[in-house]
């Protein structure tokens, strides 16, 4: 090698080549969406790198979980027992209400609502790119994950599946600028669209008339209108309502109820199957799914 005599094309030619290629990539990926299929393969190809990059964090978590005192474990355990008792009592109430609701729906000749299949997934990686709000989870096409699937945490809607790889997939969060969820106010049923604004703790609502009855602290739940998200899951809480008559619409902002910036485990939802054994459908590990079938 000799740096004085350069070989191959000049830097200018290389730059033009790379810029031309990336221009084509940007056009076909953004405007024409031609990479939806290839993205799955690309995601599978880079997933070993993602598993490697999260290894130190996983080790820290493992250490934090294993190095706890006996007393703390007992205290946690007691707390969980009390929680379970409370939840169980609520579930009993819920069963009665659900049965009543089913009867009423049958009387009104509306379709019955079944229970959705669910699967627990762990967050593998959070993107460091400030322009997109996405996370990667450790479930992929092998577990039956599909594009556009609803993802929730213990508080509310988190987002939907964007690209599916074989063992990992990418979740688009509701706070991303390209994402929007159809919601309604749980108090009075006013319909809105909650769209991401690119800030982790804010959702925006465009085109809301001044006459709409929306107050601060109203809970927004999914309306199920888009067909992507099942109905009735909490999405956000209204934080500010600004009615400036000089503007065409009222300015409404809300805060997601899901802990978007502190996600660790999420729940994937499958569409309703009309069977009423809800608890049996929760899949904790992929191998348990086979047993349930």
């Amino acid at each position: 090698m000799n740096p004085i005599f350069k070989h191959g094309p000049s830097p200018q030619h290389r730059l033009i080549l790379v810029l031309f290629c990336s221009g084509l990539l940007i056009f076909f990926d953004h405007k024409a969406n031609s990479f939806e299929f290839a993205r799955g393969y690309l995601q599978s190809m880079v997933s070993p790198l993602q598993y490697l990059a999260t290894a130190p964090k996983q080790m820290m978590n493992w250490a934090a979980e294993n190095i706890v005192t006996r007393r703390q474990l007992i205290a946690d355990n007691e707390q969980y027992k009390i929680n379970e008792l409370a939840f169980h009592e609520q579930a009993l109430q819920l069963q009665i209400v659900q049965r009543e609701n089913d009867r009423l729906r049958a009387l009104l000749a509306s379709p019955l609502r079944g229970d959705a299949k669910k699967m627990v997934a762990e967050i593998l990686a959070v993107d460091s790119d400030p322009y997109t709000h996405q996370v990667v989870i450790n479930r992929g096409a092998n577990d039956g994950v599909y594009e556009g699937q609803a993802v929730i945490d213990d508080e509310g809607i988190v987002g939907q599946i964007l690209h599916v790889g074989t063992t990992s997939s990418r979740v688009l969060l509701i706070t991303d600028v390209t994402h929007a969820v159809p919601v309604r106010v749980s108090r009075n049923g006013v319909r809105l669209i909650a769209s991401g604004v690119g800030v982790i703790d804010t959702l925006g609502h465009n085109h809301v008339p001044h006459s709409a009855d929306i107050r601060v602290d109203d809970m927004l739940v999914t309306s199920g209108l888009g067909g992507k998200f099942p109905e009735g899951y909490p999405v956000a809480k209204v934080t500010s309502v600004l009615q400036d008559e000089s503007r065409a619409f009222s300015q409404i902002q809300s805060q997601p109820v899901a802990k978007i910036d502190r996600l660790r485990y999420v729940l994937l939802l499958w569409p309703e199957q009309n069977n009423l054994q809800a608890t049996k459908n929760i899949v904790l590990k992929p191998d348990e799914k086979a047993k349930n079938k």
């Binding site: 090698m1 740096p3 350069k6 070989h7 191959g8 830097p11 290389r14 730059l15 080549l17 790379v18 810029l19 290629c21 990336s22 221009g23 084509l24 990539l25 940007i26 990926d29 953004h30 990479f35 993205r39 690309l42 995601q43 190809m45 880079v46 790198l49 993602q50 490697l52 990059a53 999260t54 130190p56 964090k57 990686a125 959070v126 993107d127 460091s128 790119d129 400030p130 322009y131 997109t132 996405q134 990667v136 964007l162 690209h163 990418r170 600028v177 390209t178 690119g198 982790i200 910036d261």
Partner: protein
């Protein structure tokens, strides 16, 4: 250029890619330095006939896939920043390490601005000053990465 030295260069890139997607707390995350850009700039200064604009484009593409951004955005920004160094490597090599750090800071700012402009063009992103925080950490990091990679290069006699 033996296979071993190729592998070592690839390994440094792999570590840089891992460092740029490693999960960090939200408060520190805004300050994450541009690991891939720093490593690319070092190899482009040291061996401009091995690592140059094409490698920058490929690394940018991999970063696009890893970050889930529109394919080609980081590739274009990375290629333009590295092109400036590839054209002036003989000048920049002779600067002192802190002068180099400032140049790397300017290139890193250019990289972030190109990414922002492309994102603005594609998805109406709004500019926040926090998008340029990585420039500071990149400037601070450059001397250390430079010394480390030079040690690696001399130790393994990568030419």
């Amino acid at each position: 250029m033996t296979i071993a030295s190729r592998l070592i260069i690839l390994l440094t890139f792999l570590v840089a890619l891992m460092a740029s997607i490693m999960p960090l707390p939200l408060s520190v995350d805004a300050f994450r330095p541009d690991w891939v850009l720093i490593v690319l700039l070092y190899w482009c200064l040291a061996l401009p006939n091995r690592v140059n604009v094409i490698s920058a484009g490929v690394m940018g593409f991999i970063l696009d896939v890893l970050l889930g951004s529109t394919l080609g955005v980081h590739a274009a920004a990375m290629a333009i920043s590295v092109y400036i160094v590839a054209g002036n490597f003989q000048k920049i090599r002779n600067f002192s390490i802190w002068q180099q750090a400032l140049i790397v800071g300017v290139l890193s700012a250019l990289y972030h601005l190109i990414v922002f402009w492309l994102q603005r063009f594609l998805t109406d992103a709004v500019f926040l000053p926090s998008y340029l925080y990585p420039v500071l950490t990149t400037i601070i990091l450059w001397p250390w990465v430079f010394l480390l990679l030079r040690k690696i290069r001399r130790n393994f006699r990568i030419k």
